[in-house]
């Protein structure tokens, strides 16, 4: 029985983590990805709720565990497989894009929360019930739980290659049923076996007949497919996202094209990733002598000089690559993290692009651009970044995306990779009120200041069109002749110089008029640097201070301290439409916290407010919930940058961490397990966290250019000791608690679950507001709280 129980807990844990990943994948595909995150965060409170229910009905459930446990697992498997089609049928099609304009959508959102919550609740209830019933074996049970989660995360990546998103929940739903089959009671074996076999019908049917994933009509893919004659000509699925290539007669792409362009904009097929626009399939030919980007502000670096060696960062579908080749570059290094997209361009889509990615000048590197920059040693005449933001602005929906390519340190790395006549070029869509332009200008100015460039006006220039601004940073000082060429280019293209030696205010608005000139005033003050820039950063209503590696949130513009003022200026209802991304995290955090407090308090009405170990339980398990998640989030962030492949790195790190923590938990089962042991372990963890906070980043940066396998081994060596010790306090705490007041064990499970969920949102808020170093520091403080609780009890 015991061995089967371990296997069973491993299966159900792996199904929960697999389901969570699948859900993220699916919801990001059919809805707005921020809402996917919010919905799942709230649904994860099922973990907290399971503790509440166990605190209330745990005794009865433990008595009937032989029957109840497999039934809960079966219910979990059935709901896991069928929750999405069920929710769609019953609640209609919820559309996250309409939440702010139609209150009816809020009810649908609540019902969506609830239906997903049930799945996590049932899964957590099964695990929690096992812990409560077999608390003496908590060390090895927790090991099986974490091992299952770790392996589940890794296995999910394989499943993402093999199954289309709609089938994933059904695949995951099979696992809890297998978990139940492993522990069927001998006494009632026939009816229970019948129920188990019957329950397989739900996942199997949904595997054979997967539901249609109806994507929001406001997503780019849905809108493209609405065009006459539009169809998906190619479809691939992978952990990088669900890729679809759409063809339609009316799909054209020419971003920020000059009004002086009189030719025809060619029709392109378009690549979508998770329903969002990823890039055009470039209609390009090796014989072309001109490119439509010549008629955009993106052409600015090519007006200054003719670069021979070019690096295109986040190359996407290769638009900037084709431009560089057309402009005569003899060597173009295209860095793109999405391997599936580059594979398509090298194979199935090669005929459409005249085999651009096989061109003799082009070399493709499948890595995150910043990681490649850190590891690379070559130099380039031109480094081109992807265009920042999208046409019309996205109202800060990327606010919480770590953008390691747009930090001050990233631009310093780029500068180091420039040849003597090298340039960095970056284009940004304009928006109102201006934010991206100003933050980018500030970042480039600070970069030049740090390098020690004295006459910055000769090394930084910018040109503004009707919709875009392109900035170019040059290693060599710009000559008067080059400045004159830029002026002629502007005049021919109906663009205006925004930053150019000898500019005057009048020529800044020759063709593209602004209602007032405050953009210029702010830009000049930022470009002046020093105190002048500092004043703008401080006084402007939006956060335009340059991003750093410690706070890599370039698109986060909301200043929490200015919410009231923004509300006065724009009206309170406008704020969500200005800076919605960060607000969603705030809203999620509030929702989770309120719900978690309720879930933690409710059991006290039944188990009583006073009595031994209640304070200890709260301090010990909330400290662990927060500390563990904070460390995990920071480690993932750092190692994603280290490996340059977000998905695999995240999976590897997460899995390694869970497995090592599991090993720690298993080892802890051999320890005596008193409060003093916990004090020693948490003290050790605090020391390790502080050491990691101080030395992890320099250690990783100094080894980033090592071969991939060596890096994997190195990261495991780094993760293993910390994760090993971090796996101990939870089972040790539960064990100690069970020895003194067993009735509090389910409550402790609930508190740990609630605080873990809260911590994901809280860690993001702290990282945005103060940086990752603070998240690490607070993780140490959280473990400190756990230590204090145990010192208190040990004394």
């Amino acid at each position: 029985m015991t061995r089967r129980l371990y296997l069973s807990i491993g299966f159900i844990s792996s199904s929960i983590i697999g389901f969570q990943l699948a859900l993220m994948h699916i919801l990001s595909y059919i809805q707005w990805s921020h809402f996917a995150w919010m919905v799942i965060s709230v649904a994860l409170l099922g973990f907290g709720a399971s503790g509440t229910i166990l605190a209330l009905a745990g005794r009865w459930m433990v008595r009937k565990i032989d029957t109840v446990l497999p039934l809960i697992m079966i219910a979990c498997g059935v709901t896991m497989s069928s929750v999405l089609p069920f929710a769609e049928r019953v609640f209609g099609t919820f559309d996250s894009y309409l939440v702010f304009i139609d209150s009816k959508e809020l009810y649908s959102l609540l019902l969506t929360y609830f239906s997903l919550f049930v799945v996590f609740f049932l899964g957590a209830l099964a695990i929690g019930l096992i812990y409560v019933a077999y608390v003496q074996k908590i060390g090895s049970l927790y090991f099986a739980d974490l091992l299952g989660s770790g392996l589940g995360g890794l296995a999910s990546l394989g499943l993402f290659w093999a199954f289309y998103p709609a089938k994933l929940p059904a695949v995951m739903g099979l696992l809890p049923i297998v978990a139940a089959a492993l522990i069927l009671p001998q006494k009632k074996i026939r009816p229970m076996a019948a129920i188990t076999i019957a329950s397989l019908a739900a996942p199997l049917l949904l595997l054979l007949y997967p539901p249609d994933l109806k994507i929001s009509e406001y997503k780019g893919l849905a809108r493209a497919l609405d065009l006459p004659g539009a169809e998906v000509r190619l479809e691939r699925t992978s952990p990088y996202g669900h890729i679809e290539v759409v063809t339609a007669d009316a799909l054209r792409y020419a971003p920020g094209l000059s009004m002086s362009f009189t030719g025809d904009i060619p029709v392109n097929d378009v690549v979508f990733c998770n329903g969002d626009w990823y890039g055009p399939v470039v209609s390009w030919s090796a014989a072309d002598t001109s490119h439509f980007l010549d008629y955009t502000t993106n052409a600015l670096p090519y007006i200054i000089t003719i670069p021979e060696t070019t690096m295109i960062l986040e190359a996407g579908t290769g638009l900037n690559v084709s431009h560089a080749v057309t402009r005569g570059a003899t060597s173009v290094t295209a860095v793109e993290h999405n391997r599936l997209v580059t594979d398509l361009l090298k194979n199935e889509l090669a005929p459409d692009t005249d085999s651009l990615f096989h061109h003799k000048a082009v070399t493709v590197k499948n890595l995150h651009s910043r990681s490649y920059l850190l590891a690379d040693t070559a130099t380039y005449d031109l480094i081109v970044l992807p265009t920042i933001e999208t046409f019309g602005g996205t109202s800060g929906i990327h606010a919480l995306k770590e953008q390691y390519l747009l930090t001050r340190e990233a631009f310093l790395n780029m500068w180091e990779r420039l040849s003597d006549r090298g340039m960095i070029s970056v284009t940004v869509w304009t928006e109102e009120p201006p934010r991206n332009i100003l933050k980018l200008l500030g970042t480039l100015t600070e970069t030049l200041q740090e390098i020690g460039v004295e006459d910055r006006s000769r090394h930084l220039m910018a040109v503004r069109g009707w919709g875009t601004v392109t900035f170019v940073v040059t290693r060599e000082a710009l000559t008067d002749y080059q400045a004159e060429n830029i002026r002629e280019f502007c005049s021919a293209m109906y663009f205006d110089p925004l930053y150019l030696p000898g500019k005057d205010d009048e020529e800044r608005m020759s063709y593209n008029i602004l209602t007032d000139s405050y953009l210029f005033e702010l830009a000049d003050r930022i470009a002046a640097g020093g105190e002048s820039a500092e004043e703008v950063y401080r006084d402007y209503d939006f956060n335009i201070r340059p991003a750093t590696d410690n706070r890599p949130y370039f698109s986060q513009f909301l200043k929490l301290s200015r919410l009231t003022r923004l509300s006065d200026i724009y009206g309170s209802k406008s704020i969500p439409f200005l800076e919605v991304g960060y607000l969603i995290v705030g809203i999620t955090f509030i929702q989770i916290t309120v719900a978690a407090i309720i879930l933690i308090i409710v059991p006290l009405f039944f188990i009583g407010w006073r009595g031994g170990y209640r304070g200890y339980t709260v301090l010990h398990f909330s400290g662990l919930g927060i500390g563990f998640m904070f460390v995990e989030i920071v480690l993932i962030q750092r190692l994603v940058l280290y490996f340059g492949s977000p998905i695999y790195a995240a999976a590897a790190v997460l899995s390694a961490m869970l497995i090592c923590s599991g090993a720690g938990s298993w080892y802890s089962s051999r320890m005596k397990g008193g409060f003093r042991d916990i004090v020693r372990v948490t003290g050790l963890i605090m020391v390790i966290i502080i050491l990691y906070g101080l030395f992890l980043t320099p250690l990783l940066l100094s080894t980033i250019s090592l071969p991939f396998l060596v890096k994997i081994a190195f990261s495991m060596v780094i993760i293993a000791p910390m994760a090993f010790f971090m796996g101990m306090p939870f089972p040790l705490g539960l064990k100690s608690l069970s020895e003194h007041n067993r009735s509090l064990v389910p409550w402790a499970w609930g508190i740990n679950g609630c605080l873990s969920v809260i911590s994901t949102a809280l860690a993001l808020i702290i990282a945005v507001e103060a940086g990752f170093l603070w998240v690490m520091a607070l993780a140490a403080v959280a473990y400190g709280i756990t230590m204090v609780a145990n010192i208190w009890k040990a004394a």
Binding site: R252, P255, M259, F261, I265, S395, F577
Partner: protein
């Protein structure tokens, strides 16, 4: 006898329906008046022909039946296929910006439900409107015909090419903006003509952009961001 009773019943029901309908129509009229006063005039739209047009066009008829009760709210509304009927303020602001006059010929790209075309048709001589999604274009055409607008012509086609045989136009109103401004549209704008384009998602902040042809030059002007609620730049 039975038949008589049935007939009486039907008559009563019809009368009730009529009462309900007239009451609703009256409500809509009041709502429309309030919309013009609170959402449009209050935010600085002063162009009298535009205000009159917004007052007279029954916006609720251009909104899907299930959202008719929200027709005069201060926001955009979904009309299907990922498209929206713009917020009343945006429609009025765009109309005012192109400075329409009775003798003008106007091209609209993106008919949607037909509301913007109806507003323009109240002011100018001819409105040509192009919709790429057949379902939307056909239902807009039907509604426009039902409402008796003889000066609106609807075509289902790709707006990229404009409508050369009826150009050049005094004004062009583009209701769904893209990353590029199609060169054929710029060519079909009269010298001195104006083109207005809302930039940004209808559910977020939109900035209106005005394109003006002046001889060989084409000038653009970014105007204020507009949103659901009064959006001023005071205090900056």
């Amino acid at each position: 006898m039975k038949i008589v009773i049935q007939r009486e019943k039907i008559a009563v029901m019809a009368a009730l329906l009529l009462i309900c309908f007239s009451a609703t129509a009256q409500d809509f009229s009041l709502l429309r008046e309030r919309m013009v006063r609170d959402q449009i005039e209050a935010r600085g739209i002063t162009h009298e022909p535009t205000l009159n047009a917004v007052r007279s066009v029954e916006r609720h008829l251009f909104v899907p039946p299930e959202r008719r009760n929200m027709a005069y709210d201060d926001g955009p509304l979904p009309i299907g296929h990922g498209q929206t009927i713009s917020q009343p303020l945006i429609v009025a602001y765009m109309t005012e910006l192109v400075n329409p006059e009775p003798h003008h010929t106007v091209l609209e790209i993106g008919t949607g439900s037909g509301y913007q075309a109806a507003i323009l048709a109240e002011i100018v001589e001819r409105v040509f409107t192009i919709e790429i999604i057949p379902e939307l274009g056909n239902s807009a055409r039907e509604l426009i015909d039902d409402l008796g607008y003889e000066n609106i012509e609807v075509k289902i086609a790709d707006g990229y090419y404009g409508w050369e045989e009826h150009g050049p136009f005094d004004a062009i109103v583009v209701t769904a903006a893209a990353e590029n401004i199609p060169p054929p549209l710029v060519r079909q704008l009269k010298d001195g003509g104006r083109m207005v384009i809302p930039v940004g998602s209808p559910f977020m902040v939109q900035t209106l952009m005005l394109v003006e042809r002046r001889g060989d030059r084409v000038l653009t002007q970014s105007l204020m961001p507009v949103n659901f609620v009064p959006f001023t730049r005071g205090g900056r």
